[in-house]
Symmetry: C2
Amino acid sequence: MKIGLAQINGTVGDFPANARRIVNAYREAVDQGAEFVVTPEMALVGYPPRDLVFKSGFVDKCLQALDYLASEIGEVPLLVGYVDHNRGESPGKPFRNGVALLENGEVVARVFKTLLPTYDIFDERRYFEPAERCEPVEWRGRKLGITICEDVWTEDYLHRPLYKRDPVEELQAAGAEILINLSASPFHLGKAAVRRELLSMLAKSTGLPLVYCNSIGGNDQLVFDGNSVVMNGKGALRAQLAAFLEEVRVIDIGLESGAETEAVPEAAAPEAPEEIFGALVLGVRDYVGKCGFRTACMGLSGGIDSALTAAVAVEALGAGNVHGLTMPSSYSSKGSVDDSLALAANLGMRCDTVAIREPFEAVKAALAPLFGDLPEDVTEENMQARIRGLYLMALSNKHNHLLLTTGNKSELAVGYCTIYGDMCGGLAVISDLPKTRVFEVARWLNRDGEVIPWNTIEKPPSAELRPDQKDEDSLPPYGVLDEILELYVEKQCSPEEIIESHGFKEETVRWVQRQVDLNEWKRHQAAPGIRVTSKAFGIGRRIPIVQRFGR
Amino acid sequence: MKIGLAQINGTVGDFPANARRIVNAYREAVDQGAEFVVTPEMALVGYPPRDLVFKSGFVDKCLQALDYLASEIGEVPLLVGYVDHNRGESPGKPFRNGVALLENGEVVARVFKTLLPTYDIFDERRYFEPAERCEPVEWRGRKLGITICEDVWTEDYLHRPLYKRDPVEELQAAGAEILINLSASPFHLGKAAVRRELLSMLAKSTGLPLVYCNSIGGNDQLVFDGNSVVMNGKGALRAQLAAFLEEVRVIDIGLESGAETEAVPEAAAPEAPEEIFGALVLGVRDYVGKCGFRTACMGLSGGIDSALTAAVAVEALGAGNVHGLTMPSSYSSKGSVDDSLALAANLGMRCDTVAIREPFEAVKAALAPLFGDLPEDVTEENMQARIRGLYLMALSNKHNHLLLTTGNKSELAVGYCTIYGDMCGGLAVISDLPKTRVFEVARWLNRDGEVIPWNTIEKPPSAELRPDQKDEDSLPPYGVLDEILELYVEKQCSPEEIIESHGFKEETVRWVQRQVDLNEWKRHQAAPGIRVTSKAFGIGRRIPIVQRFGR
């Protein structure tokens, strides 16, 4: 049986465009000889639609699009993810996360999701009622075990006993001959490998071939990485689709002969910086494009964060569509302008220089009567950052650029950034990259020659908001800071655990904890960032601002 | 049986302080003759703790606080809300939303929440596993039907068939003689009346007396209004505690005699403006105080939004703790400064005047080479708003004031506000008040004499960012706009429904829809606002930024 995988990039709520995209992929698969075509979870809707599903008419419009889609489907059936009303008789949530089997112009079967992830970035119990039962779909004498994303994330090795049911077990008990999973499984670093391992174990333990079709594309903070796979019944890889790209591919899963199909060698996993860069490029391209922008602007400080952000933006949008601004103050080194211009030259993007001295002096003069004899402090540092933010937003307003924010995760974590200043922007490109990762990706980018000026990579990081300032005057060394942050933010360890089990100095750990907790208010107002770790600041981490735990 | 209700104000995650507060309330109730004391849901934790529960040690620290609390409890028992590990044998979520019965230094019973709200602002399925069964707690020969918040929101008249179980039914079938509900039920306009109606119907339909103890206090975007009640078995009100205030009160529910206890007359429901003002004052006082601030600052434009915000702030914090700034531009009318100074005089608060002309000119001059011959447009309007934001943040930074944001819900909905400009601030006081409500509350404030200058109320609203600008040049009349917004945002009607069923002009409705959808990105970065309607922008409304539904 030749299965076509349509690994497509949908836009949330754009039913007409998603339907057209699915039809095109379907035809391409049929042309390649597919006998059965599979799309990702919610392919018709875009994932995650979030509270759009509560909008009057949303689900009905989806069902209309499903009817249209069915009308385009011939003898080769299509499995498509969509959202349905809950038509059950018993009470419950109003909707279902569903899959429809379309054939000869009609919906011939519907399957609903059983396990509804409600953790991290997922809120499915907010919307959907789980399927009451899991049964194979009978199709031309075959029993197809159709599942949706989380339904297959039940392997014991996950150590995640969240659910009382096991859809795969139910399906196999009812005679399923193949497992097909439609997914919208978002990227984080290393996720593709975990997923492949899980799916391999599942195919092996059930002895069933497995077809896994994932989404690709960026939607708000999430990037879906594709990496769809087909496994044979021994858990060996039959095919793996592209990462971060749309792809349509047809795979013979050899169901007819009963013979085992040949495995393909697993491609070496990409290096972390390559995977991160790919995710960021896709995230930027889709965010900018799906929001209806063509161009972006950003501040260039001469530092590594803005340099990496620019490199990502240029790769995503094209050098001619990215406009940089370098905005020296009296405290800026000559190097900061030179390094920015060198970067822009390397990338082929435009960079203008606009100094901030005059507005800074004008603001200080205006506020002098209110500040009296009080000494200069962080207030004046923030003023400079905010004048830069004002410049960038003016450039964005005047030329209809989307402003990209350049801050990294380490500084966002401890609040070493100015709200309404360098935090301005519509998308925070590297806000889920700890500073040490930023260096790693920058060095990787330079592997075949300088993209990011070596001087930018090698000089000590500085905000240049007061004379001779260095980041490490105010912060622990980034190596230490990032390790503590990973334990405190990503792994949610207590300060006691970090001190006792990991040997960090109490004073440093307490300082980090306090800064992370106190700066929740800034992150509440931060631009959405592209998620690349398992725990980004953003929708998957919901900490109250007003709280006193551990203070 | 004399039941003490401890309607207290907890802080999320502050176990030691919450425990002390509970002990004090318990003692006060015992001194008043209570034989049994009840607190709100999660009284020991503060509600909602959100993802803090995932932090290593959070639940254990809560259990330690529970042990301490038990050690302070004597013969009169205490029912207290807390968070527990899920000690069940079967898989599921890691925690329970629980109630402990403490007596003579020990935990003598535990009850867990059965119905876990996962909609609007609630995410309980993210954290908690529901109780497997609901059974009365046997205590001194009595069968107590103990429930937690949502457990009693099952009355048919709610038209909300969300749940397959009915805890009250289960408890009554098992012989419960009284219903006790511990709640953390947040305020929105009219909620207290809905709640009282629901509880009255429940008492009447079961024939059981009902004790309902609710939280009060502000936590992030939510205000809990108290309004705890006791009903007799006929559904008549026996007592209602204060709105927006802590209170400890002891009520004899007459369980011993079996006789019906006397009802009290229901107090007239407060007028909407009074209820709103009470919620906002408590919201500001708690947000500022629980964040560790004593003072606030804000911009005064001479308009009604900043005037109402100032009146709330002065009531919440005291006139001496609120610092206003009026920041005229060349486009500002003389009235805008005069009205601001008149307001400050009425309220007894400080107001300084700092013009924005010089920095505005300096910024325009600096950017002139980038803008060339392009005409002035919204860019220059935004610049002015951003210079004001910069001033206010400088004042906040230098003097450690919390900056209050003054925008209303109508402008936030359609994006008639400047991000990083007038949207700057730590708390958006009236961001859930449509403009028409702002007028209503302002007039109510002036019922016994001018608080808000009548000129501010009567002049046409204007942003004063270009010559002779009026809001209604850019927006539909506020009466129309607010009605459309209520239908589109709060009731989630489709534009077609708004046009067809409500008779608004298609052009206007489409314009409003488009503005609301396009400005999701601004609201993503907005300061948290105090929720006063059933659907505020904020944690209870989760719309993707990147989406194209209905475009």
